[in-house]
């Protein structure tokens, strides 16, 4: 359960619910208070009105016979009240009496706190003026009554009140309906919030599910990006890019492992089959010799492959090559000299146009790079062909190229030739004697030197490999060409 409440949707919902509850409560309380205040004003007004009616009645009663106009001095009223000879007229008195809901009552006190006149239904707990004290005005709620007390004309103190049971009940009803309305608004808000939070989170949940499936191994799947530029789309794109790279790396790794195991298994199969076959019975010395030669050739092939794999692994693991200043032309010359027997055997004429070219790099790796490219050109050429090796210095780089006038590389193969174990002629190591790793190693070496390698092979015009290596920007000035 705690896991459920940790979900983003629940957390958003909890916060949303709490804030909405506060807002609804504040609204309901304010509405209730405003309604109650307005009700009280209304009640007070009605009390004051009735009090005035009562006084008016007293005044009329105070007038001498036959006079029905003009004011009566308050002293006269007080005097008559003290004397107990003044009573409110019956029409007015009818208003003050009974205990029906909404009944009115009053009491009149003199300055000393003596009660001079009161309605019959005056409640026992009505306010009493305190002698020797400036009472001023008093508004209060007693039980289900509203009561006021204030000074009247001639030093009189008037207490008047009214039963407000009906108003209280109506306010009560109002409070209930307000509460119900608040609850309804809150529930509706919660539902809306839940829906909204769900809607906002749904893409995240989708992304999460897709990512989980991808992580579980379904690497070709991708997160669906809506095409808008929302934050979630950006997240989706970032994740998709990551998955793309991951997928590519894994695929490469898988392909490499499959290829390497294939390349290693074939010679092992030959060794096992051949030895098993030859040991089955007595053989002539010639047969033994042939079998041993097969095994030797196969073992030599495995050695080449293992060496190439190790070289590749070292290049890929070593990172940036150690730099030292060396002459590219000298390295190329030495390479050509080493490969001269192979070139002679295959009837290829290798020419070099080399000027001293200083570059920064690892001479051993550069020698392997040059050897791989030149040997590649020699091996893929037919007898009588030419291979040209040249090097040159540019502003911030040095370049060398290996060019042949052979059959060239088919356009569909060009993008793949630096891939490990990619062979244009699809012939296996056993047939051609090369491992299929030469150009991959060359590329790894160039990458380690921060350079670039490119190949162009226009149909019928041979193939040219060009390697460009950056020179250190602060290094010595390029050597003059000679």
């Amino acid at each position: 359960m705690s896991v459920v409440f940790h979900s983003l949707r629940w957390r958003v919902q909890l916060w949303h619910g709490a804030i909405l509850l506060l807002a609804v409560l504040a609204f309901c309380l304010t509405a209730y208070r405003l309604a109650w205040a307005s009700q009280l004003r209304h009640i007070d007004k009605s009390i004051a009105q009735n009090e005035w009616t009562m006084f008016h009645g007293l005044m009329v009663a105070c007038r001498p016979e036959g006079v029905d106009k003009g004011s009566v001095p308050p002293e006269a009223i007080v005097e008559r009240l003290r004397a107990g000879t003044l009573a409110v007229p019956a029409t007015v008195a009818a208003r003050f009496g009974g205990n029906e809901p909404g009944y009115l009552y009053f009491a009149i006190y003199d300055r000393d706190g003596r009660r001079l006149l009161h309605s019959e239904n005056l409640p026992a707990d009505s306010a009493l003026p305190q002698p020797e004290q400036d009472t001023g005005e008093l508004y209060r709620l007693v039980g289900s009554r509203r009561e006021t007390m204030h000074g009247g004309p001639g030093g009189l103190i008037v207490v008047s009140g009214r039963d407000i049971t009906a108003e209280r009940e109506s306010l009560h009803r109002f409070a209930w309906s307000l509460g119900a309305l608040g609850l309804a608004v809150w529930s509706f808000g919660l539902l809306g919030g839940w829906w909204l939070a769900g809607r906002a989170i749904k893409p995240i949940a989708t992304i999460s599910r897709t990512a989980t499936r991808i992580a579980a191994g379904n690497l070709s799947e991708r997160i669906d990006v809506q095409g808008t530029d929302s934050e979630l789309d950006q997240l989706g794109r970032v994740l998709n890019d990551t998955f793309d790279r991951l997928h590519e790396t894994l695929e490469q790794q898988k392909r490499f492992t499959a290829d390497a195991s294939h390349e290693l298994r074939t010679p092992i199969t030959i060794l096992l089959s051949e030895t098993q076959r030859i040991l089955k019975r007595e053989r002539t010395p010639a047969e033994y010799e042939e079998a041993i030669r097969t095994c030797h050739d196969t073992a030599a092939r495995m050695r080449r492959l293992v060496e190439a794999l190790l070289l590749l692994a070292r290049q890929e693991a070593s990172g940036a090559a150690p730099r030292e200043s060396c002459d590219l032309a000298a390295i190329l010359r030495e390479t050509i000299a080493q490969l001269a027997p192979l070139a002679k055997e295959r009837g290829i004429d290798v020419r070099a146009e080399l000027s001293p070219t200083r570059c920064d790099g690892d001479p051993a790796s550069l020698a392997i790079l040059a050897s791989n490219l030149v040997a590649n050109a020699i091996q893929h050429h037919s007898t009588g062909g030419h291979v040209e090796v040249s090097c040159a210095t540019a502003a911030h780089s040095v370049a060398f190229s290996v060019r042949d006038d052979g059959p060239g590389i088919p356009a569909e193969d060009l993008p793949h030739i630096f891939r490990r174990f990619y062979r244009v002629d699809k012939a296996r190591a056993g047939a051609s004697g090369h491992t299929g790793l030469g150009l991959a190693i060359a590329k790894a070496i160039v990458d380690n030197h921060g350079g670039s390698i490119s190949v162009s092979s226009p149909v019928g015009h041979g193939t040219r490999f060009t390697v460009t290596l950056p020179t250190a920007p602060t290094g010595s000035a390029p050597a003059p060409r000679g």
Partner: protein, 216 residues
């Protein structure tokens, strides 16, 4: 029994073919998928050994072109040992799947099983009356007594025994007992048949004139 081996690695092809020939199979070879497919379609083989990674046309391609019309048993040989690759091979119509490096004896046993199954046999032993043929040891006995046979005689006997009750034409026998390197004359077959009759008795192999031979 005549086999076709499609394998692009020349050294492996050589040693495989030599091993199979020493087991008295007639063996044709092909170094790429296209050549292999052509031979498989032109000739009748008792089984085909097929590598997967082949130039020109890979093993899947060869299999796809062969099936379903061609029912020759196919044993795939490959360095791809992942389970999906094996499943793909078997589902594509291969009858068996062997990963490199393999044991040559296992390969031979699987081949025998494939050929046996294709002929409707369930055991390495075929009994015809007193005659008993052990296809694993490649020996024939009559009433417990071993009969010494040459490789060709044994191959002829095994083929006829595996197709017992059927009339096997001379053309079919040439197809299955000699590989493309052999240029045996047609009367050579008659010589083998007559030798077999001498060793096993006149009545075993019946001649259906104008049709071929038959073991009832």
């Amino acid at each position: 029994m005549r086999l076709l081996v499609i394998e692009d690695d020349p050294a492996l092809l050589r040693t495989l073919a030599a091993s199979l020939r020493e087991e008295n199979y007639a063996v044709d070879t092909a170094a790429d998928g296209a050549d292999g497919l052509l031979k498989a379609q032109q000739n009748t083989y008792d089984a085909i050994l097929l590598d997967v990674m082949l130039p020109k046309l890979d093993g899947w391609g060869v299999l796809a072109a062969l099936r379903p019309a061609n029912r020759t048993p196919v044993l795939m040989l490959t360095a791809l040992d992942a389970v999906p690759a094996r499943i793909k091979g078997l589902d594509a119509g291969a009858d068996d799947y062997l990963t490199k490096p393999f044991d040559i004896d296992e390969l031979l046993a699987r081949l025998r099983a494939l050929i046996r199954r294709a002929a409707g046999q369930t055991s390495t032993r075929i009994a015809i009356g007193e005659l008993s043929i052990d296809t694993a040891a490649r020996r024939a006995t009559v009433a417990g007594e071993e009969i010494v046979l040459t490789a060709r005689e044994y191959a002829l006997l095994e083929y006829l025994a595996l197709h017992r009750g059927e009339v096997v034409t001379r053309a079919a026998l040439y197809e299955h007992l000699f590989d493309e390197a052999d240029d045996s004359l047609s009367n050579l077959l008659d010589v083998h048949v007559s030798n077999l009759r001498k060793k096993l008795g006149r009545d075993l192999i019946a001649t259906r004139r104008g049709h071929g031979y038959c073991i009832e």
